[in-house]
Assembly symmetry: C2
Homo-oligomer: 198 residues x 2
C-alpha cells in the first residue's frame, strides 16, 4: 500500500476504479450509477476513467466481466462441495448461481441486463461464455457425455429455472421465499430442482 498523498500516477487506477464502481453500483443501483462519483471516490479527476475504460459502458462492461468470473467461481465452488455425483454437482451449480445473485444483486442484474451493449468487449463475452459452458458441461456429465449441438431442453430448462428463481428472489417478488432462512431457501430451490433434474 503506497500511501503518498496524491501521486499523479495512481499506480493501479484500473482496479481501484472497478472496486469503487462495484460499491457505487451496490449502493445506488444501475440507475443512480455515475462515472464522476466513482472517480470522486477513488480521489481522481472525473475524466480519468476514460483512459482505462474509454466509456461509461466500458467500465460497466469490465465490471460485468469480472462479475461473470466470480459468478463462475461461485458455481464451481458449490459443485466441488457436492462431490462426484453429476446430479448433485449440477444442483450445486444452481445453488452457487443463487449464492452469487443474492450476494451481489446489483452486479447480477447488470450482468444480465444490457446497459452496456455496444461495448463489444471480448473480455465480457468470454467471461459470459465460460460461465455458460460450466452449466452445459454439468448437463453433459449428467446424461453421460454428450454435449449435443442442438437446443437442449434440459439445459435451457434448468438454466431458466435457476435464473428465474434468482431474478424473482432479488426483485422481491417472492416474499414467502425471501422470509425463509438461508438454509430453508436452499432446500426450497433444491426441491424444485430435483423435480426437473431427472
Amino acid at each position: 500500500m503506497d500511501e503518498r498523498k496524491t501521486p499523479y500516477h495512481h499506480g493501479d487506477l484500473r482496479s481501484a476504479l472497478l472496486e469503487a464502481a462495484e460499491e457505487v453500483l451496490a449502493e445506488t443501483g444501475v440507475s443512480g450509477f455515475s462515472l464522476r462519483q466513482v472517480a470522486r471516490r477513488v480521489g481522481v479527476s472525473h475524466a480519468a476513467p476514460a483512459h482505462h475504460f474509454g466509456d461509461a459502458k466500458g467500465l460497466l462492461a469490465a465490471l460485468a466481466a469480472e462479475g461473470f468470473r466470480r459468478f463462475l467461481a461461485a458455481m464451481e465452488a458449490r459443485a466441488a462441495l457436492a462431490g462426484d455425483d453429476p446430479r448433485e454437482r449440477l444442483i450445486g451449480s444452481g445453488l452457487g448461481y443463487l449464492d452469487f445473485a443474492q450476494g451481489s444483486p446489483a452486479l447480477f442484474r447488470l450482468m444480465f441486463s444490457a446497459p452496456m451493449e455496444g461495448a463489444k468487449s471480448a473480455e465480457l463475452a468470454d467471461a459470459g461464455t465460460a460461465a455458460f459452458r460450466h452449466l452445459a458441461e454439468g448437463i453433459a456429465r449428467l446424461r453421460g457425455e454428450d454435449p449435443g449441438p442442438a437446443a437442449d431442453p434440459l439445459l435451457y430448462g434448468v438454466w431458466s429455472l435457476v435464473h428465474g428463481f434468482a431474478e424473482l428472489l432479488i426483485s422481491g417478488r417472492m416474499p414467502p421465499v425471501q422470509a425463509m432462512s438461508a438454509t430453508e431457501r436452499e432446500g426450497f430451490l433444491r426441491g424444485i430442482l430435483r423435480d426437473v433434474v431427472t
Copy 2:
C-alpha cells in the same frame, strides 16, 4: 383527433406521454431514457410531465403498471385459447408470459427491474399483484382448488422457469432458441413446461 396547432391544453397529455414514453423506452432502453425526450416527442415543454407523474420514476412506474395490465391480458388470452383443462390453461399462461416478453422486451425488463422503486405507486403494486394472482390461481385450479398460504414449490417453480426463459431469451443468451421460428420456440417451451407441470 383535435388537430389544432399547439393548444395550451393538450387534452390527453397523460396518455400521450405514456405512449411516447413506451416508444422511447423501446428505442433507447432504460439507460437512454429521458424525460425531456418524451416531452419533446409529444411536442410539449420539458416540465410538463412533472404535473402528471410528479417524477421521472413516477412516469416509469405508471408505464410499468400499464405494462403489468397488458401482461396479464396476454396471459389470460392464451389461457382462454387453451380451453378448460387446467394443465393446458396453465401452459397457455406461460406462453402468454413469453408473448409479452418478446413483444415488449424493454417494458418487460422495466417491470421486473427496479429503476422506479421509491415511487410507492399503488397502481403499480396492484397491477403487479393481479398478474401474479393469475398464475397462483392457475396453479390452484391445477391441483384442485387449494390456494395454499405457504410457499408453493410448484407455483414458484413454474413461475421461475417461465420468467427465466423469457429473461434469457430477450437477453440474447439462448442463440439456438432465438434462431427458432415462433412456433418452434413455443413448442420448445411447451416441452420444458410439460415436465414440470405434472
